[in-house]
């Protein structure tokens, strides 16, 4: 079994290194194919492991070697494949494989083709470490590793100022959160004496509540960064500067869910501190609504999807925070499938539209790009949570959880968000694929993507549709280690009312979106319409002025403060003091050297102290 584990873990690394070999040379297909194949291998291994874990209920645990050992600290490179991590492994390898294959087509014309695959595989490797590690330190390796790869990939088109800026933003923001994570790890170590999940969680119940609370808070801060929770969310939208497969893989399916994974992984901890859980859930709900609201008006296709991702992450946190870890994980999985699909579809559209992102400039693409149209529509339906697609099973479950746990505010928020989700998803679909062929005004001749790209997407499509079917099997498996709370509304009537009500609400939202955005008089907004001048619109399109706030009240002051530190303090105070001291001596000498006039009389006088 260890063989499969290592295969699953290391084949992406091998793929990455392989592609890296061609890093500086000309684009070569093989640099894309080999990593993809290796990822396939990893997928197969993961699948075998899944089957194993699923069937036997055992988990595979290996310790490869010691990483750090000093004093009482002992950190091995240990990997564990248990019910939780295997789910993540499946998600990661599956989506990655799809994205890899897709990217062979998508990045076809890009000069950095080889480099791209190297980065992408490296990302998968980091992600695998993240999910498979059996200790916090290993998790942190993956955590930072995915951050690095995300930086590389967001800034893949480094010649674009915005891309490199976004990459740095993402990295730094993640770093802020990572600090919290690091502190959390320190806390774990000094209070439990180990960083191994198993031992650490075993000790935790005996620890002081305050300490646990702090641990919970700091670890969650880490999660907030990776999962782009408020207020560290701005990087995610900006991260859309990266190539679309990257957005699909990293900024939708896998990396951003690492935070959720962390909370799920640390469930024994969060179980002990329900107050923090509620906070997490509340924040999640808030982010869900908050992000969805921004998605309503955004005019950048990818950003809309990014906000939607953000919103869905909010759902996951809401679930995890309320103790429904398995639900969170389930939504994570389902979301990975349809969101990746959505992104890849968006990628096709972008390709077709020559990197045009404004859906108002598209319209009617459904005729040209049938496959993409279908896929994106289904993905959107899944996202909206329409029965029987994946989204329904996972998202409705979260609503139920909120309801059952009597967090009605959270429930209401999430419900509202579900409607918004449906609205903006179909706003997008409507704007892109229906209506007038507005793109013609811009002289673009869209075309469908490569066949194999669509084929590559198809597994996701299938899963987006049927993932809900795995629910029971999944439940049975993960509850080996996650709290097996089932969430059932007490009366069947309530249940049905709720479910159908939700469905109707969502469908209504979809219908409204369709109605509103398929109409013929949709024009490319030019900033003159009444709506565009309304306060709400401005607030939303400017993302609640948060980036503006960050730029003006954090980044700029930091830059200015740095400048002041350097020019004013370092040079004018610290260094000037040092030079000043030296100068005092020198000047004293220079001033008093006239005493040595060379005149004997003065000399004699000085001899008398006069």
């Amino acid at each position: 079994m260890e063989l499969f584990l290592y295969t699953a873990l290391f084949s992406p690394l091998v793929g990455s290194l392989f592609a890296a070999l061609f890093g500086a040379s000309k684009k070569t297909k093989i640099a894309g194919i080999v990593p993809s194949a290796l990822l396939g291998l990893s997928l197969i291994s993961s699948f075998i492991l899944l089957i194993l874990v699923f069937s036997t209920g055992l988990s595979v645990h290996v310790e490869m070697m010691t990483w750090m050992a000093t004093g009482d600290l002992y950190i091995p490179f240990g990997f564990v494949v248990d019910q939780v991590s295997v789910v993540m492994m499946m998600v990661v390898t599956l989506v990655s494989t799809v994205v890899h294959v897709y990217a062979i087509g998508y990045m076809d014309h890009d000069k950095g083709f080889n480099r791209f695959f190297s980065y992408l595989s490296a990302f998968v490797f980091s992600m695998m470490i993240l999910v498979m590690s059996d200790n916090f330190a290993g998790l942190f390796i993956g955590w930072e590793g995915v951050g690095l790869c995300s930086w590389l990939l967001i800034g893949f088109w480094y010649h674009k100022e915005s891309a490199s800026w976004a990459a740095n933003e993402a990295f730094i923001m993640n770093r802020i959160a990572d600090l919290g994570m690091l502190i959390g790890i320190f806390l774990v170590y000094w209070n439990t004496g180990t960083l191994q999940y198993k031992e650490a969680f075993a000790v935790m119940p005996s620890l002081d509540k305050d300490i646990l609370t702090w641990i919970g808070i700091f670890l969650f801060v880490g999660a907030m960064g990776k999962s782009a929770q408020f207020p560290l969310h701005t990087w995610l939208a900006d991260a859309m500067e990266g190539p679309t497969p990257v957005s699909a893989l990293i900024h939708a399916a896998t990396m951003v869910t690492a935070g959720v994974y962390l909370v799920v992984r640390a469930n024994p901890l969060y179980d002990l501190i329900p107050a923090i859980g509620v906070f997490i859930a509340s924040l999640g709900a808030f982010v869900a609504l908050f992000a969805a609201s921004m998605a309503l008006v955004n005019r950048d296709m990818k950003r809309v999807i990014a906000y939607s991702t953000l919103s869905q992450l909010g759902y996951m946190f809401a679930a995890a925070g309320l103790g429904a870890y398995w639900v969170a994980l389930f939504h994570l999985m389902a979301h990975a499938f349809f969101k990746a699909l959505l992104f890849l579809g968006a990628g096709n559209v972008m390709h077709a539209m020559h990197d045009e992102l404004d859906p108002f400039k598209m319209g009617g693409l459904g005729k040209v790009m049938k496959g993409t149209f279908v896929m994106m529509t289904i993905a959107s339906v899944a996202l909206a949570g329409i029965f029987p697609l994946a989204g329904f099973f996972s998202k409705d479950l979260i609503l139920e959880v909120a309801f059952v746990e009597h967090h009605f505010i959270i429930y209401t928020v999430l419900l509202l968000t579900a409607g918004l989700t449906a609205f903006y998803s179909f706003r997008l679909v409507a704007l892109i694929f229906h209506g007038e062929d507005r793109y013609k005004h811009f002289g673009i001749h869209p075309h469908e993507a490569y066949k194999f790209m669509l084929v590559a997407m198809s597994p996701l499509l299938v899963l987006a549709i049927i993932a809900g079917a795995f629910k029971m099997g999944y439940f049975g498996m993960v509850t080996h280690i996650l709290p097996a709370t089932e969430y059932h509304v007490h009366s069947a009537a309530t249940y049905w009312i709720m479910t159908i009500g939700t469905q109707l609400f969502v469908i209504g939202a979809i219908a409204y979106a369709y109605k509103k955005y398929t109409s013929k008089d949709i024009k490319v907004p030019d900033g003159t319409s009444k709506m565009e001048n309304s306060f709400a619109y401005k607030l939303l399109i400017n993302q609640y002025y948060i980036p503006y706030f960050y730029e003006n009240y954090l980044v700029k002051p930091y830059r200015e403060l740095s400048e002041i530190f350097w020019t004013k303090i370092d040079q004018k105070v610290v260094d000037a003091t040092v030079d000043g001291i030296a100068n005092v001596f020198y000047q004293t000498g220079d001033r008093t050297r006239v005493m040595q006039s060379g005149n004997l009389s003065t000399m004699l006088l000085s001899g008398l102290g006069v």
Binding site: S601, L605, L608, V610
Partner: protein
């Protein structure tokens, strides 16, 4: 009483003379005043019973030193009035204060060590010169000899510096010039 009168008289005279010596602008006056002051000082020596010192003082200072100075004065042609730019007057003032302070110190703390027995006690029944000779050639033999060396040094120094040896710089002269110079010297020596 006689001692007191003599002391004050000579004290007044020496102070006056020396004061003239340091303040007058006439070099000749200064020299004369200095010589006179030296002689008056010898009077103190006689009063104090240091006859030998008194004699030496007159011989060495008034004889040798003053003669040298007189010679020097003529050489330097400073017989005319010497114009000296003066620095600030505070110097003199400051020094006067200093002197005054010292005097006060000395008056306010009269010597206590009156009973100190000397190492080389002055004997009642011997002449000062004899006693000095005795001490000088026993205890102070070495300083005496060193003083002889010192005088030799001074002599050599005087000859070297004031003689012709320093007139030309051998450092800067060329080899040929030096050769010529040497020949001249040998010629002179022979003639």
């Amino acid at each position: 009483m006689f001692e007191a009168i003599a002391f004050y008289l000579f004290a007044f005279l020496t102070i006056t003379m020396f004061y003239i010596a340091v303040t007058t602008s006439q070099a000749l006056h200064a020299l004369t005043a200095l010589a006179a002051g030296m002689i008056f000082i010898s009077a103190f020596f006689f009063i104090l019973g240091a006859d030998f010192l008194g004699a030496i003082q007159i011989v060495v200072y008034s004889g040798a030193v003053m003669a040298l100075y007189a010679f020097g004065m003529m050489f330097f042609d400073t017989t005319r009035e010497v114009k000296e730019k003066q620095g600030n007057k505070y110097i003199i003032f400051g020094l006067s204060v200093l002197a005054a302070v010292l005097i006060v110190v000395i008056f306010s703390a009269p010597m206590v060590a009156q009973n100190i027995g000397g190492q080389n006690p002055i004997l009642e029944n011997a002449g000062n010169v004899q006693q000095v000779g005795m001490v000088l050639f026993t205890k102070y033999l070495v300083p005496f000899e060193v003083a002889a060396v010192m005088l030799l040094v001074a002599m050599i120094a005087g000859i070297v510096l004031a003689g012709k040896k320093m007139d030309l710089s051998l450092t800067l002269m060329s080899e040929e010039d030096i050769k010529v110079l040497k020949e001249e010297n040998t010629k002179k020596a022979h003639s």
